[in-house]
Amino acid sequence: MTDYKEIAAKASEIRINSLKMIHAAASGHPGGSLSISDILATLYFGGHLRHNPQDPEDPSRDILVQSKGHASPALYSCLGLAGFYPIEDTITFRELGSKFQGHIDRTKVPGVEISTGSLGHGLSNAVGIAIAAKLDKSDRKVFAILSDGELQEGSNWEATMSAAHFKLSNLVAFVDRNRIQLDGWTEETMGLDPLADKFKAFNWEVLEIDGHNIEEIDQALNKAQGLGSGDKPVMILANTVKGKGVSFMEDEVAWHGVAPKDEDLNKALEELAK
């Protein structure tokens, strides 16, 4: 039995460390880091994504492409908790000379598979990795985490088309559907709905879940594996809340890319410790 409480505790640690990093750097993206913490924790600590901190390039590992490179604090915290490096190191986030770059950088941080930051790249990169796995007849699973706002980049739809065309059943992508982008609500900025229908029309299997319910994430990933025996890539539309876990950040556009001040951090850590 998967221990959902344990995964939820890891997600909480990801959130706490992410906010500490952003606070120390006095810059960064809290909102979108908090919204993907449960997904990352379930992938890495729920037994879904095979990884090896002793050998980050282990050929038998699975691969995650985090296309939303600005949510770097969440991934850096997750990889630290997974043992790729001491999590305390991440406090140098965004400092000159730090390996923890503002947007994730594969050349500096062990465990980061692809550098991203410019939106609309990650799904294409994941398609290439998934094609390679098929060519190599490998059982590697390829995961991608996309933001919802980034789906406004047209390149995602080129990638979406190609993943279905090449029957990449080894590819499972998440959309972090927190409905907020830098300038405001996605539906007011440039509407994305109906997203499920869009991906279905592009010949993907689509699952829709609560992206903060560990059990639902876990079961969706199990289900996605089952679907993988077919010939379609799987899209998990994860309905999330930007800033999840910190009351004053939740659903607040202002917390997309602003660092918490001392009192904000203290209040947030208090809430997350509960």
């Binding site: 691969i63 492409v65 594969r106 050349t107 598979e113 692809i114 550098s115 991203t116 930051g117 410019s118 609309g120 790249h121 799904l123 294409s124 990169n125 994941a126 398609v127 290439g128 990795i129 998934a130 094609i131 390679a132 796995a133 060519l135 190599d136 047209g154 390149s155 080129e158 990638a159 088309m161 190609s162 065309h165 090449f166």
Partner: protein, 332 residues
């Protein structure tokens, strides 16, 4: 990262043969595919034109037609390289470098991935298709990207060898290839090396530094100049980045007069690259002229006719050489 394999070469063009660099690309790529199972090829609905069709026919399982979607083609190539493959991504140069520039920059170069962007139909010699397809900016926009290697083969022999060389090289590369048949200037015994200029004719009076199709024109101009008793040095600068600074310093010190020749905008290409070396590393008295497309768009016409129309004819080169020689007399 994928390990490229060293492979013996077997080229087939004789000096004077008319052949397009894209033909040599198609041949070399198919052979590489035969010999190295890590080589994969992506195209964007132009495999019949780029000549990746030969690889596609021989190795259908390792050929990926991405449709008319160049950003995703480059992003996917990056993913394939991340998983250890040696991807060659092809389209027309306009789209592979222009449309997909930011993917080349961020997915490929910033990730330090082993992707070979080998694009055809570069420059004015695309011909009849006209300005929308005649990219004269690609050398500029590729050479400004950190970590990129930029190669412009002069003929089929050099293109063929360059494709083998880039397969062995670990890192992102742009290879600029052409549509038009151009005179073969290199014999089989020529050895292409990334980053090394080749002196084709030695001379003391004036230097012609050329790349691509302009190399054969530089050789023709040198012959005409020789008839007038002028000894021109002709240098093939196939690698624009990393540039062979030493070769430039050496020839400029020797002749004191340098002309660059390229089928590209005079802004940002070979000429500017050479100018940077001359201004920083060579005595300031060197006289210098960039010949290229004078910052204007092309138009429909036959490839070679377009080069003449835009001031890149053999007669133009001879005239500029004489001008630069005369300007030298006036100041001494």
């Amino acid at each position: 990262m994928g390990q490229a394999v060293k492979i013996d070469m077997d080229s087939t063009w004789q000096i004077g043969d008319m052949a397009a660099t894209r033909e040599a690309y198609g041949k070399a790529l198919k052979e590489l595919g035969d010999k190295n199972s890590q080589v994969v090829v992506l195209d964007a609905d132009l495999s019949g034109s780029t000549q990746t069709k030969h690889f596609a026919k021989a190795h259908p399982d390792r050929f990926f037609n991405m449709g008319i979607a160049e950003m995703n083609m480059i992003g996917t190539a990056a993913g394939l390289a991340r998983a250890g493959k040696i991807p060659f991504a092809s389209s027309f140069a306009m789209f592979a470098t222009g449309r997909a520039w930011e993917f080349v920059r961020n997915s490929v170069a910033h990730n330090y991935l082993n992707v070979k962007v080998c694009a055809t139909h570069a420059g004015l010699t695309v011909g009849e298709d006209g300005a929308s397809h005649q990219i004269i900016e690609d050398i500029a926009i590729m050479r400004v990207i950190p970590e990129m290697t930029v190669i412009v083969p002069a003929d089929a022999t050099e293109a063929y060898q360059a494709i083998y060389a880039v397969a062995e090289h670990d890192g992102p590369v742009y290879v600029r290839l052409g549509r038009a048949k151009v005179p073969t200037v290199f014999a089989e015994d020529y050895k292409f090396e990334i980053g090394k200029a080749a002196t084709l004719v030695e001379g003391n009076d004036v230097t012609l530094i050329a790349c691509g199709v302009m190399v054969s024109r530089a050789l023709d101009a040198a012959k005409e100049l020789a008839e007038q008793g002028i000894k021109a040095e002709v240098i093939n600068m196939a690698t624009i980045k990393p540039l062979d600074n030493q070769a430039i310093v050496k020839t400029a010190t020797k002749t004191g007069k340098v002309i660059t020749l390229e089928e590209h905008n005079i802004i940002g290409g070979l000429g500017d690259a050479v100018a940077s070396v001359l201004s920083e590393e060579v005595d300031s008295k060197v006289r210098f002229k960039r010949m290229g497309v004078e910052d204007k768009f092309g138009q429909s016409g036959k490839g070679m006719e377009l080069l003449d129309h835009y001031g890149l004819g053999v007669a133009d080169i001879v005239r500029e050489a004489l001008t630069i020689l005369r300007s030298g007399e006036a100041t001494t």
